[in-house]
Symmetry: C2
Subunit: 205 residues, 2 copies
């Protein structure tokens, strides 16, 4: 079975249990099987469609939300979670709250790596590599720590504020790293793919 979660920067593939990604800027490879997909990126979808047989899973679900314009990747990240907070930490970090299988709302933070790019656009003195080991219990004493502390702590504080005591489900490239800061959390790199597999089974596709 081949699944594809088409994002802003990457095609995220799942093929027979294996996971890999390809840049949307390149011509995607040719598969000789049908590909079940969800997408937030129309042009990348069209490119994949040129040489592959695609089946859109976004039409096959019921999802309760009042949120206007919720990305289909966020929908699928939340789809298997009845109660809890879902954090997908990539180039953006989305935080979504589920209660009794209903989506209550959510927020979109800048991803940890996006901070770096942005600081550098303010001043070339603010060019840095995120210090992931920065001490968050001590006031920073140099620029790299001052920037790392801000990026990390502001992210952690807003996730804490939104999640309160609820269980947090992390996914995405920085999900495992961020989950370390939260006791009541798990990291599941396949959160979206597992929802896609369930939708395929439920719909007998």
């Amino acid at each position: 079975m081949i699944l594809c979660d088409i994002g802003n920067s990457f095609y995220h593939f799942y093929k027979d249990g294996e996971i890999f990604k390809e840049s949307v800027d390149k011509t995607p490879q040719l598969f000789n099987k049908k590909i079940y997909y969800i997408s937030v990126n129309n042009s990348a979808t069209l490119k994949l469609k040129e040489s592959n047989n695609l089946i859109d899973l976004s039409k096959r679900i019921n999802f309760n939300t009042s949120y206007n314009g919720l990305g289909i990747d966020r929908v699928f990240a939340c789809l298997n979670i009845s109660n809890g907070v879902v954090v997908d930490a990539g180039s953006a970090i989305t935080i979504d709250v589920m209660q009794n299988s209903t989506h209550l709302g959510g927020s979109i933070l800048l991803g940890l790596l996006s901070h770096k790019k942005n600081y550098n656009s303010i001043s070339n003195k603010l060019n840095f590599d995120l210090n992931r080991e920065v001490n968050l219990n001590k006031l920073p004493q140099n620029t790299i720590d001052a920037l790392s502390y801000a990026s990390l702590k502001s992210t952690i504080l807003i996730i804490k504020d939104i999640s309160k005591d609820n269980k947090i489900y992390f996914t995405g490239g920085d999900g495992q790293f961020l989950s370390k800061f939260f006791i009541n959390s798990i990291y599941d790199k396949n959160l979206i793919f597992n929802s896609m597999i369930r939708v395929i089974k439920d719909n007998k596709l």
Copy 2:
């Protein structure tokens, strides 16, 4: 008396009680008086120096800190504050903690407007104007609110976390707006210029 606080994007001038700014990308105007200045921007300083008589105030102060590479604008924002937290909210937002006239450390956040630019670089769907009226007590229900909530709330939470119950002194373009979210705070648009004036007096310049 003419003062100039030379930043990454602007010359911030103080002339006989009046305040104005000029882009560092343009040729600065010619003044026929000496200009007392501080600067974090060497090339802009050289440009101002070409046709004006400049006096650097950065060498005229004593400032206690263990922070390595603290920007001179942050030093001057803190210089008049014995105890409290100093927040300069511009293209970056700096947060610095003073206790008994000693600088204990600080952090550097992305400015509120910087968030906007950065979201847009992740996806053109994330192009938005910050909704400064977003309800911070309710989970967002659309993209603009989701982004505005994240920008504002992450900024407010980390300032709260660092400042605890200490008094907060806000300055900079977004200082007045942010100060509204903190009871024990004041906004002083002239925090840096007032320090510069004091240094001039103390040094009998």
